[in-house]
Amino acid sequence: MAALAEQGNVRRETGNVTKRLQKELMTLMMEAVPGATAFPENDNVFSWIGTIRGTKDTVYDGLEYKLSIKFPADYPYNPPTIKFITPIFHPNVDTHGNICLDILKEKWSAAYSVKTILLSIQSLLGEPNCDSPLNTHAAQLWEDQAKYLTVLKEKYAMKTA
């Protein structure tokens, strides 16, 4: 009986999370966030693929990157796990696509949504935190934007080839 009751709770919880994710998806589609999209991968509402495009006036202008977004069963109490699928040259992203962004970790708030996360990552592109880099090469190069752009374009071309 106890096990059954527990199962019921998990199911109900999952149902709530599913409903929340469906609402988020709806919002994203209706509002058409500039330079950011996200959609469930296959039929799994807990696993999405997102894309962000670099904004104007940044070295990432026009470059597009794919991200994987995996939601935990207790989302949004806990944050989703987000990784770049498209390799990216950036001070705060490592070679495995892991992102160092406080709102995805210790500063996570359940008020955030996929939309706010994607917009935060998008602004992180143009405003990296070079004090605690995951990619030290990129962090060192950031000061020289012209050189940075050259390396960035080289790497981007290589990775999307």
């Binding site: 527990e6 709770n9 998990v10 919880e13 709530n16 999370v17 409903k19 929340r20 609402k23 988020e24 709806m26 919002t27 069963a73 207790d74 949004p76 109490y77 806990n78 490592d94 160092c100 970790k105 210790e106 500063k107 996570w108 708030s109 359940a110 008020a111 955030y112 949504s113 939309k115 706010t116 605690s132 880099p133 995951l134 030290t136």
Partner: protein, 301 residues
């Protein structure tokens, strides 16, 4: 703004379960110092792993809200070895004033969790005595109903907030059919609504602060002398597991119109109590020790 400020924590213990909430942050800072020679990436990963470990360990070893226990039986042993005898004196005084307490999990949510648990428990107990819906339940349902517009007015995303709002409203709807034991199970269910309704209290607190930014601004001024209300809510109120200070307490009691008494136990030997708002007669009473809140029960409860 002290004495209820969590930052005033004076404990130095680093064991997880006996540690106050503030120790979570201190343990992390210590771990960062120890690994000064590692790369930033390794440090970052270690910190996150460690944070997750500490939170998971606390979750395993301590229920969200514990069983009712006697004051002196719960606290005396804890302070037996403490060289500051003021604690023992304070415990005697509390023991005469209160009949029991419940320990609340030390995960940074203790104020919100303790406050909400005790309020709902009192609501369930009062409703059990009455054949019709008690006025307080009617009132709080209205407050929660009205909170939705306020949440949206201060800029929260409807799609992000609906789930919390609905879970809270649903829990209130269940009050007439709940016993205190059933409520206890519900609020201790790791997979259930508990963490979500606790987080909703953070959103309510932040909303009240934003709606009354001018009034709260003097209390949230940063070192630069500026009061950035949005930033304060983003970094000090909303983050899951972030400790609570007096500002958040005042905001939550105002938003819900549910008063609270905080008994402050320290080494002085004279526990002091503060009532929010002043002059109210709260049912919800919490015990504050530097860095942590637990639930207290009156001798008449």
């Amino acid at each position: 703004m002290n004495p209820a400020g969590d930052d005033s924590a004076t404990t130095t213990t680093t064991t997880t379960t006996e540690a106050a909430d503030g120790d979570l942050q201190r343990a992390l800072e210590a771990s960062l110092r120890d690994v000064g020679t590692m790369s930033a990436q390794e440090q970052d990963r270690l910190t996150i792993d460690q944070l997750n470990d500490i939170v998971a360990t606390i979750a395993q070893e301590q229920p969200m809200v514990g069983a009712k226990v006697g004051i002196s039986e719960a606290l005396a042993a804890e302070y037996a070895e403490n060289p500051m005898k003021g604690f023992a004196l304070g415990i005697d005084i509390l023991n005469a004033k209160y009949s029991a307490m419940r320990r609340v999990r030390k995960d940074g949510n203790c104020f919100y969790r303790g406050f909400l648990y005790r309020y709902l428990e009192a609501l369930v107990l009062a409703q059990q005595q009455q054949p019709t819906t008690i006025p307080e339940l009617v009132r709080i349902r209205e407050v929660v109903k009205g909170s939705k517009k306020k949440l949206l007015d201060v800029g929260y995303d409807e799609s992000a907030m609906d789930m919390f709002w609905e879970m809270f409203a649903e829990l209130l709807d269940q009050v007439p059919s709940l016993t205190p034991d059933a409520l206890h199970l519900k609020l201790n269910d790791e997979q259930g609504v508990s963490n979500h309704v606790v987080w909703f209290c953070r959103a309510l607190s932040a909303t009240q602060i934003k709606l009354n930014a001018d009034r709260f601004a003097p209390f949230i001024m940063g070192e630069d002398g500026l009061a950035d209300v949005d930033k304060f809510c983003r970094t000090e109120v909303e983050p899951v597991n972030h400790e609570c200070e007096q500002v958040q307490i005042i905001a939550l009691t105002e938003m819900l119109q549910v008063p609270v008494t905080i008994e402050y136990l320290d080494a002085s030997g004279h526990p002091s109590s503060i009532v929010f708002p002043e002059g109210a007669h709260p049912t919800v009473k919490l015990l504050y020790r530097p860095g942590h809140y637990d639930i207290l029960y009156d001798t008449t409860d």
